[in-house]
């Protein structure tokens, strides 16, 4: 098992009630699998499975099928971005 830091932003952070979480997982695993594990471990974790929730691995936007390597430093989940 490896620990990876997971961050949450904006409405997702408010729904989950936390901004950060240490995830112990069997990496490499896909973003989809990370979402599923988090949804089981966190209160209101189902919010992670909602349509449109985006993710990043070490600051790069990721897709559900992308693999999180055991060397990854930080994963984040958030709703679609709305800057500008």
């Amino acid at each position: 098992m490896t620990n990876v830091n997971v961050l949450f932003f904006a409405s997702l952070k408010e729904t989950l009630g936390i901004s950060e979480y240490q995830l112990a997982g069997n990496f490499p695993m896909t973003i989809r699998a990370v979402k599923q594990q988090l949804s089981a471990e966190l209160a209101k974790g189902d919010a992670l499975l909602g349509v449109g929730i985006q993710s990043s691995i070490d600051y790069e936007f990721a897709r559900d099928a992308d693999l999180v390597a055991s060397s990854a430093q930080e994963i984040a989940f958030f709703p679609p971005v709305t800057g500008g």
Partner: protein, 148 residues
């Protein structure tokens, strides 16, 4: 140069920074502002911008690097504010200088389109005691597709 900051920015100073003596023939600039979003008086409304420190700057640098690889640009400046803002406040500045106007116009448009969809910022509108996160627009996705 890319900056993510709470404080306001000076468009005139940013314009000057885009100029390359004897070389610049065109400057295109965009400024985004907080517009009215509620029925309530502006002083009862606030606007907040959240970002992901580290990732946001990384996203903006990638977008600017991509623009520089597509067009022959001289200087690029991107400034995006975060934190609590009010109606009429400036949010974002994108400025591009080049020899000719076509490159400057296109690169400025491209950077804004990508910034809207591929940079880690989130807007929240508050009117009185009610708050809501701004939802991403389908139109922004369509605009992004123009460059792919």
């Amino acid at each position: 140069m890319i900056r993510v900051q709470q404080e306001d920015f000076d468009v005139a100073a940013l314009y000057q920074a885009l100029l390359v003596a004897n070389k610049t023939g065109a400057v295109a600039m965009f400024v985004g502002l907080v517009r009215e979003f509620a029925e309530l008086p502006p002083d009862e409304c606030t606007f907040e911008l959240e970002h992901y420190p580290g990732m946001t700057e990384h996203n903006l640098q990638s977008i600017v690097d991509d623009a520089k690889s597509r067009w022959d640009l001289q200087e690029v400046r991107v400034v995006h504010r975060v934190g609590r803002l009010s109606i009429n406040d400036q949010i974002v500045f994108v400025g591009v200088s080049s020899s000719h106007r076509a490159e400057a116009f296109q690169a400025c448009d491209f950077i804004m389109d990508y910034l809207k969809s591929r940079a880690a910022f989130w807007k929240k509108e508050t009117q009185g005691s009610r708050s809501q996160w701004v939802e991403a627009s389908e139109k922004d996705k369509t605009r992004l597709a123009r460059w792919q």
